[in-house]
């Protein structure tokens, strides 16, 4: 069998296993193992397996993931979302649609200490959704705001998706975090604009409230300054080169724990739950890496990724169109499979291809970083777009009285904002790259 046919067979086998509910990591591992065996023979295969687990486990950059997960878990279990929402609500809750806007701001702020969108979505929803419903906000607007707002958890650094991308593409995590900052803030700003326009068109869905007193605002501000400080120290330290992302994550996790403890919200049960949720996600991420490592070793032997890159390179289309098509492919894939698995699976194949393209005359690193931000953007859309928007499911489980179809109708408004953001990032690489250039 030719390399290309074997590569295609491995891919087909993987998709078949996935469709049959085999864990994604294993669905990648098994065809990879069989392919490797048939190309290289059993001695090299058994030899590769001796080190495959340890090589991945001991990757220095990988250590960022459990530490940032732990930081997010402490923030979640420690109820930091309540303080953030109270402050944002005191700030802008009075304007029309203001509580929804405050929810978006709380999500964005929570996103600075949490790298997972599902965790952000679930924890902020628990405090913000009842508040919106109590003040007469429609189910459509309030649930859609939470589903979309939750995605700011990964759009704004730290972001588990970006760390995984950094490891796969061998890029600097600090630079990627810096590049994600402006598009993340832009994303939050566009969500606010989307809400403002929406409630102008449908005023009944997000009525205005009396203004909070400045004493209330001051009181709320007292509760959030430690979180702002953590963010400044962690990212100031990472961007300023004072410490590595791993060390920044360690400082962040430690200080988030202390903040939650001082708030009196970190009991022994919450402490234990923080570790178990970290274990669950970190374990899952590693397993996917293990499966993808096996599959990609075999694919590399089959030379399929190289052939695909050559074929695409010889096509007579504009490079930006190729990138646009890759984004479309991601949107399709993300509607059926887990976003993280999708990245781990495709980046080793698509990344070399993108690096071959001439894009706005960017150099290698800039291209890699910019592409990473684009990938993050489509992953984010996959979390709220039908048919399977993970965040929509999360919100739905917390607001069973609002039908999911209502949520999706509201989500359309935010998806429009997302498309505006992606178009801007795609057309103007400088948006994501200027902060990165500034710090390096």
């Amino acid at each position: 069998m030719s390399g290309l046919a074997l590569g295609a067979a491995m891919f087909g086998g993987m998709l078949a296993l996935m469709a049959l509910r085999v864990p994604i990591a294993i669905a990648m591992f098994i065809p990879g193992a069989l392919g490797y065996l048939s190309i290289a023979g059993d001695a090299p295969f058994l030899n590769l397996l001796k080190g495959i687990a340890y090589a991945r486990l001991s990757n220095y950059d990988l250590s960022v993931i459990p530490l940032f997960l732990l930081m997010g878990a402490f923030a979640t279990q420690g109820g930091l979302s309540r303080a953030l929402f109270a402050f944002a609500n005191a700030l802008i809750g009075h304007v029309r649609g203001g509580i929804a806007m405050a929810s978006v701001l709380a999500c964005a702020a929570f996103g600075t200490v949490c790298g997972s969108s599902v965790a952000t979505c679930a924890t902020v929803t628990q405090v913000a959704l009842p508040e919106m419903r109590r003040h007469g906000y429609s189910g459509r607007l309030s649930t859609a705001t939470m589903a979309a707002g939750g995605t700011l958890g990964i759009l704004i650094p730290p972001s588990v998706v970006l760390i995984v991308y950094a490891i796969l593409a061998e890029q600097n995590i600090a630079k990627l975090f810096a590049a994600a900052m402006v598009p993340g803030i832009l994303g939050a700003g566009l969500y606010l604009a989307a809400i403002a326009i929406y409630v102008r068109l449908f005023p009944a869905q997000g009525p205005s409230q009396p203004r909070h007193s400045s004493a209330e605002l001051l009181q709320a501000a007292k509760e959030v300054w430690p979180i702002a400080l953590i963010f400044l120290v962690v990212f100031g330290g990472i961007y300023g080169g004072f410490f590595t992302p791993t060390e920044g994550a360690a400082v962040g996790a430690g200080s988030t724990f202390l903040t939650a403890l001082l708030k009196g919200e970190m009991g022994f049960q919450a402490f234990k739950r923080s570790f178990l949720s970290t274990a669950e996600t970190a374990g899952f991420v590693f397993m996917i890496f293990l499966g993808a490592d096996m599959l990609n070793s075999a694919l590399a032997l089959s030379q399929m990724p190289m052939r695909i890159a050559e074929a695409v390179g010889s096509l007579d289309v504009a490079p930006v169109v190729v990138v646009g098509l890759i984004m479309l492919l991601y949107l399709l894939l993300s509607s059926v499979m887990d976003e993280l698995a999708m990245i781990v699976l495709t980046i080793p194949i698509l990344f070399p291809l993108v690096m071959e393209l001439d894009l706005y005359g960017l150099n290698g690193t800039e291209k890699a970083i910019w592409f990473g931000i684009l990938v993050l953007s489509v992953v984010e859309i996959g979390l709220i777009a039908p048919p399977v928007g993970l965040n929509v499911y999360v919100v739905n489980s917390l607001a069973p009285d609002v039908p999911m179809s209502e949520t999706y109708k509201g989500v359309a408004v935010f998806l429009t904002a997302d498309l505006v953001r992606i178009t801007l990032v795609l057309a103007f690489p400088g948006l994501s790259l200027w902060l990165m250039r500034l710090i390096s």
Binding site: V22, I52, Y54, L57, L62, E247, V388
Partner: protein
């Protein structure tokens, strides 16, 4: 049965968490040492690598027991619950087989690192310790895979579905 497996998986996850906290403490100490005394902890990067490997390996059994290894259920949502459970049993069985294979080879890998007497560059910690430490949790993940397969099988065979 469930109790013993769950206790072991939880104990491993908490042990992994403890290693993670130790890594966290060491990183903070190293930053402080660098900032205030001009010298970090020697070989701190290597120790983080060891710690990371051990803690994540220790997380794997809990991840499988809590069904954290994500599956694609898009294509099978229309199937009856019992058919889904039967497929899940097969999936968990395959996971057990893969983890058993990986644990077995990682054990042999640890043995050859031990035989070579390799040490980390700066901290001089013998490499085999970390290589060997990941083997028991990997093997136990295979056991948890078998157990979750059995659980799903029971669900597939139960008349209630």
């Amino acid at each position: 049965m469930r109790r013993a497996i769950e206790l072991t998986a939880k104990a491993l996850a908490f042990a992994g968490g403890a290693v993670l906290v130790a890594m966290l403490g060491m990183s903070v100490a190293s930053i402080a040492g660098r900032a205030f005394f001009g010298r970090p902890i020697q070989g701190d990067f290597e120790l983080v690598q060891f710690g990371c490997a051990i803690s994540i390996a220790a997380f794997l059994p809990w991840c499988q027991l809590s069904r954290g290894n994500i599956i694609v259920n898009f294509f099978t949502t229309g199937l009856p619950k019992r058919a889904q459970a039967a497929l899940d049993a097969v999936g968990a069985l395959l996971l057990a087989a893969v983890m058993a294979l990986v644990a077995w080879r990682a054990g042999l890998g640890a043995e050859s690192v031990w035989a070579s007497g390799e040490r980390a560059m700066i901290s001089r910690v013998p490499q085999w310790i970390a290589y060997a430490a990941i083997v028991p949790p990997l093997a136990f993940t295979a056991v948890v895979g078998l157990y979750t397969a059995w659980e799903s099988l029971q669900q597939a065979l139960s008349p209630k579905g």
